[in-house]
Structures are given as structure tokens and as C-alpha cells.
């Protein structure tokens, strides 16, 4: 055995795969430009570039459309896609379950409950008319309500996670809390007037266009902090791939890692849901796509790649949602599922065994 020793060349070592990262970055920039260029008003690419580098476009209207509508929308897509995808990756690794996503801990449901309380309980105050009247105040109220709802569920989960040391149990408890919250929302809906329900339903379709330019920084800060915590957790996340016992036997503090993973996911998922409504599917699909592309489970590579991949996927979904060449827009969460599901099915069939390749 020992005498047929072969040399261990550097290619065995953890690679950062610069080629794939290059492709992802090029893809991101390309889709970003395409996303800015497409919409109900045709604006030539040269004018868009002109505006982006700080110049003025040939038309004042184009200037306004790009700066006030399309740029916030595209940036929101990038942030939301990245944040939800990394949230999904963290949940899949923590629970060692390929079907986990940012919604499994009930955080999204918590945000929904917060919004439902504001929209359905407030009666006339928060009817669509009122929100239009007090646009800034109204949208802030929804953001605050969603954040409080998400934070409430997060606190509950954190308290339970101190007591419950088994991750599978925690996963099931998270799902149950999600169900419970959704049930509360539906009871509330049942006793509400149709026009109130309509407002709430519109929120649940999700929207990338609802974040004004002056509030984008909040979304950016949340994504940055959540993503930063995730990056810092790379090493314990890698250890957790082998299970909690192995992670602990290799000197990783499973307990505190788990708390930080939950904090990071809650920030990412809660923050995005508060601003954009529940956008499903990205969180489950993107980590799988990224693993297939990068061919690794090393989180030091996987987290940045997932950030890029999530941004790309949501930008692409947003382009589809705007139905280029028409004046209609489709609800974003419907589009993510319509685009995402076939992609995931394709990946699963290609890889034969999702559970094992995870």
C-alpha cells in the first residue's frame, strides 16, 4: 500500500475556481444591464450606460425612469436574490436537508403575520387608498410590521433552539410554527372585509419595485450583515456537513454556530420579506444550482458563489416578470417558481440523487 504512494498534487486541494466566479460575475453584469434596458419604455443601452457613469441621457424622462425606478428595482433584485439564496444555503446545511429553505423556520410566515395584522386589523387606515395617501409612512409601517413579525418568530425559535439540541426536531418545530402562523393569518383573513384581503394578497405576490431609492441602503446593510455572518461561519458550516457529532469532535462549537446561523438567516429572510413580500423558491433552488455548478460543498467557495447565483437568478426572473415588450408585469414570486421549478427538476434528474449530492 505505502510503496505505491502517488504524489499529491495541488489540484487535490480546495480550489476557488476562478473561471466559474469570472463567469458568474460576467453573467451578473450582463443581466444587470439587460434588466435596466428592458421594460415598458424602450431605452437604448448607450443611454443607460451614459446614465450609469454619471452622465445625462438624451431624454429627461429616461433619466427619471432609470434612476428612480429601474436602478432601485435591479438593486433590490440583486440584494433579495443574494440574501434569500444564502439564507437557504445556511438552512440546508444546518438541517442537512435538501428541501430546507429560508422559510422553514417560520420566519417568512412571521413576517406575513406582521403584515396581516397591520393590513387587516387597521381597517380603513391601511386600505390601499390610505397607503397611497401616506406612501412613505404606509410602506414603512409594513416594513416595520414584517420585521417585528419575523423577529418575533426568530426569538421564539432561538429560545427553543437553546432547549432542543436536535436539529431535526428543531426543523419540525420551525415548520410547525410556520404553519401555526399561517393559520393565524388565515383566520384573520376569514374575518376581514374583501377589500382588506385584497391588499394583503397583493403583498403576498411579492414585489421588487416597492423599495424606494432612499430606503435601499437598509436592505443593503441587512444583506451585508447577514452575508458577512454567513461567510464568517464557513468553517463550522463545513464541519456541520459531517453531522453535529463530528463537528463537535473536530473542535467546533455547534451550539453557538447554530445560534449565529439562525440569526443570519433571520436577518436575511426577514429583511427581504419585509421589503419585498414573500418571494418563494429562490432560497431552495439556488443553493442546489450553485453546488451543481461549482461541484463543491466547501462553504468558503459556496457562499460567495451562491450570492452571485442568487442575484443572477432573481434578475433573470425579474426580466421575465416584466414581460419585455408589454406594459404588464407578473407577480415576482409566481415567476420565481415558474422559472425555478423546471430548473431544479432538470438538475435533480441530471444528478440522479439530490439527497446524496447535497
Amino acid at each position: 500500500m505505502a510503496n505505491e504512494r502517488t504524489d499529491i498534487t495541488p489540484r487535490h486541494k480546495t480550489g476557488i475556481r476562478p473561471l466559474y466566479f469570472g463567469l458568474l460575475i460576467i453573467g451578473l453584469i450582463g443581466l444587470l444591464l439587460l434588466n435596466l434596458a428592458l421594460g415598458s419604455v424602450d431605452i437604448p443601452l448607450s443611454d443607460i450606460v451614459q446614465i450609469l457613469i454619471g452622465g445625462e441621457a438624451t431624454s429627461e424622462a429616461w433619466n427619471k425612469i432609470i434612476v428612480n425606478i429601474r436602478i432601485p428595482r435591479a438593486v433590490t433584485a440583486v440584494l433579495a436574490g443574494s440574501a434569500l439564496s444564502v439564507g437557504g444555503l445556511l438552512m440546508q446545511t444546518l438541517f442537512r436537508n435538501p428541501l430546507a429553505g429560508p422559510s422553514v423556520l417560520g420566519i417568512t410566515a412571521g413576517a406575513s403575520l406582521g403584515v396581516a395584522i397591520v393590513m387587516l386589523a387597521g381597517g380603513t387606515i391601511t386600505s390601499i387608498f390610505a397607503i397611497q395617501q401616506l406612501s412613505a409612512f404606509g410602506s414603512w409601517m409594513i416594513v416595520i410590521a414584517a420585521s417585528l413579525g419575523a423577529a418575533g418568530v426568530l426569538l421564539l425559535i432561538l429560545l427553543i433552539s437553546i432547549k432542543v439540541r436536535d436539529n431535526v426536531t428543531l426543523l419540525i418545530i420551525g415548520l410547525m410554527i410556520g404553519n401555526l402562523t399561517i393559520a393565524l393569518v388565515s383566520i384573520w383573513q376569514y374575518f376581514s372585509r374583501p377589500e382588506q384581503i385584497q391588499d394583503y394578497l397583493i403583498w403576498t405576490f411579492g414585489s421588487l419595485g416597492g423599495v424606494p431609492l432612499d430606503q435601499l441602503w437598509i436592505l443593503a446593510v441587512i444583506t451585508l450583515i447577514g452575508g458577512g455572518i454567513a461567510m464568517a461561519l464557513s468553517k463550522p458550516l463545513n464541519g456541520l456537513l459531517l453531522g453535529e457529532n463530528y463537528a463537535r469532535s473536530m473542535g467546533l462549537s455547534v451550539f453557538s454556530s447554530r445560534i449565529w446561523i439562525i440569526v443570519s438567516t433571520s436577518l436575511l429572510a426577514g429583511g427581504i420579506t419585509a421589503f419585498c413580500g414573500p418571494i418563494g423558491f429562490v432560497g431552495i433552488a439556488v443553493p442546489h444550482l450553485t453546488r451543481s455548478l461549482m461541484g463543491t460543498n466547501d462553504h468558503r467557495v459556496l457562499i460567495p458563489a451562491t450570492l452571485l447565483m442568487g442575484a443572477i437568478l432573481l434578475l433573470a426572473c425579474d426580466i421575465v416578470a416584466q414581460v419585455p415588450g408589454s406594459t404588464t408585469t407578473l407577480p415576482i414570486s409566481a415567476v420565481t417558481s415558474m422559472v425555478g421549478s423546471p430548473v431544479v427538476i432538470w438538475v435533480i434528474i441530471q444528478r440522479k440523487n439530490l439527497q446524496a449530492s447535497f
Partner: protein, 339 residues
């Protein structure tokens, strides 16, 4: 045995599961006083459910003791941080590795976790140790392969290499040879013995394969049915009957003269068997399977001789009246059945 010189030792340790709700604590084994020395292979043996895994997990700090203490280098285990323990004790558990998309090299490199910084990057020394671990476990041929595409034996060796990369003075392995075929089992045991003697690591492995444990272990730890742990050199434990007492069940008996268990209770007449060593060994097994009592003293009415000549064998049945020759055990047994 001095507790100071041993890597891991225990002091009146009780293992089991803490009370839960109205259920009181479940004590699996109690008053355990054992010590793992460097350079030794220790086999932990016990019937199913006797607490082998619980003991290993407790010694590794993955499970809380019910009472008593676990000492690491003579100091209480729970005084150490999880990272320090991981630098002194590594484990190979029965937990299944279900992930893919990770190469053998990357998995072995995870073993450096207790030494690397917050981001887990390997430095030159880490890389050297990973490469040494890979070479020691003899897994160079498939360092590039995805962990998913390993056989059970290969995966076990990879997990051992990962434990070696952890560079600890004690390695605890829970059933490392379960689900493996005989060549793989032998290879793993050989690897562990080599490591113990070359690197002076203390190696503890649990197994339920008695014959393998008897051959491989420098020391045996036997967990008996009443939850006591008895330690000693394998041969001593066999000769003084401890081994037999722990494992004996009504349906089968431990044969001290062969070091193995007999599956069959003799229900036929005694046969006196003589001849050359190799054919006698196998003939004995065949006769015992048939239910004969094989004795080594003349004076029975039936006598069987087994001889080897170069590559061929010859068997004779000698009774008071006649003598017949046979060229295979099949024919020999056929003739005996006709009697």
C-alpha cells in the same frame, strides 16, 4: 496503571442517559475504571446494547457522564474547551456521511479544524499533516474522488485518515469494521495496529467481532451484561473464563481451546480424529457441524484419519471391523451418514 501516564482514564464513571420527564436516568454501565495508554490497541467488546457507543461518546466528550469523571492526561475532561479536546482526542463514529460534492482530500483536511483559523485555511504544516494522514491510511489512489463514490471500506479509511489529520494522541473508533468484508476488516485492523505502534497513539475501537478483537487487541475492555467493565489482556480473560462468562448464551458455547464459538451441540457419538494438521483442522469443523463430538484421545468405536500428500488429501474411517478410504470430506460425511 498510573492515571497520569494514560491518555484517557476514568474514575468511577457511570454512563447512560439523563432523566427525562417522569423517566428516571438510564444507567447503561457503572463504576467504570479504565485507562487508555499510548501505543496500545484496545478493543471494547460487549453484547449489543451494552453501551459501547455510549462509552466511546462519553470518553470523547460528546456525551455527558451520569456520574464519576473522565480524565484527559490526568485532568478532568470537562475542564477543557471543545477545541482543546479535539486536539487530543479524535473519533470515528458510526454516523453516516451522506453528503457528496466534496473530495476525499477536502474531507481529510476537515480534520485540521481544531488548528486552523476562523476561516479554516490550511498552512504549509497543515498540508503536510493532511498528506501524511492520507499516506498512512493508504488512500492516495482516490484523494480526488467524490466522497459519495467510495465503497464502505474506502469511506472508513477516509474517516480514519481524517481522524489522523486531527493529530491527536488518542483515537476512538466506534465499530470501524462494521459492514465491511473480511479483507477490509483485516486491513483496517492492521492499519490501526501499525498506527498505534509507530505513532504511539492510544487507539480504542469497539467491535462485536470477538475473534478479530482477540487477535488484534493489546488490551480488552469487556462490558458485561450487568453493566460492569472488565479489562485485561485478551488471553488472560479467555483463560480465566471472564470472556466466556460475558458472552455465553444458552444456544452457543465459547470453546477455549480454539478461541471461537461453537454453533452446534454434539448429539452423536464421539469420534477420535488424527492426522496432519491442516486436513485435521477442516475435518474437525465438518464433523462438529454434523453433530459429532471430536475427541483427541483414542478409545472410541469410530476413528477418522486425515492425511495430506502434496496437494491431495486422503481420509480413512476405521471401525472395529473395517477400514474405508475417501478422497473428499463430502464422501467422508456421506459414508458416516449411511452408518
Amino acid at each position: 496503571m498510573s492515571k497520569q501516564s494514560s491518555i484517557i482514564s476514568t474514575n468511577e464513571l457511570d454512563i447512560g442517559f439523563p432523566p427525562k420527564g417522569r423517566k428516571s436516568a438510564t444507567v447503561v454501565a457503572s463504576d467504570i475504571n479504565v485507562a487508555l495508554q499510548g501505543g496500545q490497541v484496545v478493543c471494547l467488546l460487549g453484547p449489543n446494547g451494552s453501551g459501547k457507543s455510549t462509552l466511546i461518546r462519553t470518553l470523547a466528550g460528546l456525551h455527558y457522564p451520569l456520574d464519576g469523571e473522565v480524565l484527559l492526561n490526568g485532568k478532568q475532561l470537562n475542564k477543557f474547551g471543545v477545541k482543546t479536546i479535539a486536539q487530543k482526542v479524535s473519533t470515528v463514529l458510526t454516523d453516516r456521511i451522506t453528503i457528496g460534492n466534496i473530495s476525499v482530500y477536502e474531507l481529510v483536511a476537515f480534520g485540521r479544524s481544531p488548528y486552523t483559523g476562523w476561516f479554516g485555511s490550511l498552512n504549509k504544516k497543515d498540508e503536510e499533516i493532511v498528506e501524511w494522514a492520507i499516506a498512512s491510511a493508504g488512500i492516495e489512489q482516490f484523494v480526488d474522488r467524490d466522497v459519495l463514490h467510495l465503497s464502505d471500506g474506502e469511506r472508513q479509511k477516509v474517516m480514519i485518515a481524517r481522524a489522523l489529520a486531527q493529530d491527536t494522541s488518542a483515537v476512538l473508533l466506534d465499530e470501524p469494521t462494521a459492514h465491511l468484508d473480511l479483507p477490509n476488516r483485516v486491513e483496517i485492523i492492521r492499519l490501526l495496529r501499525k498506527l498505534a505502534h509507530h505513532t504511539k497513539k492510544g487507539i480504542l475501537l469497539s467491535t462485536h467481532e470477538l475473534d478479530l478483537a482477540l487477535k488484534a487487541a493489546d488490551t480488552l475492555w469487556l462490558i458485561s451484561r450487568d453493566g460492569k467493565v472488565i479489562t485485561g489482556t485478551p488471553e488472560d480473560l479467555v483463560l480465566d473464563g471472564t470472556f466466556e462468562a460475558v458472552f455465553e448464551k444458552d444456544s452457543f458455547d465459547f470453546d477455549r481451546s480454539t478461541g471461537s464459538f461453537t454453533l452446534h451441540n454434539p448429539d452423536k457419538e464421539p469420534i477420535y480424529l488424527t492426522g496432519d494438521a491442516v486436513p485435521v483442522f477442516w475435518t474437525r469443523r465438518a464433523l462438529e457441524r454434523e453433530g459429532y463430538e471430536v475427541v483427541e484421545k483414542n478409545g472410541t468405536s469410530l476413528k477418522v484419519e486425515a492425511h495430506s500428500k502434496q496437494e491431495t488429501f486422503l481420509w480413512k474411517i476405521i471401525s472395529e471391523k473395517e477400514e474405508h478410504s475417501y478422497s473428499s470430506i463430502k464422501d467422508l460425511l456421506g459414508a458416516l451418514r449411511k452408518n
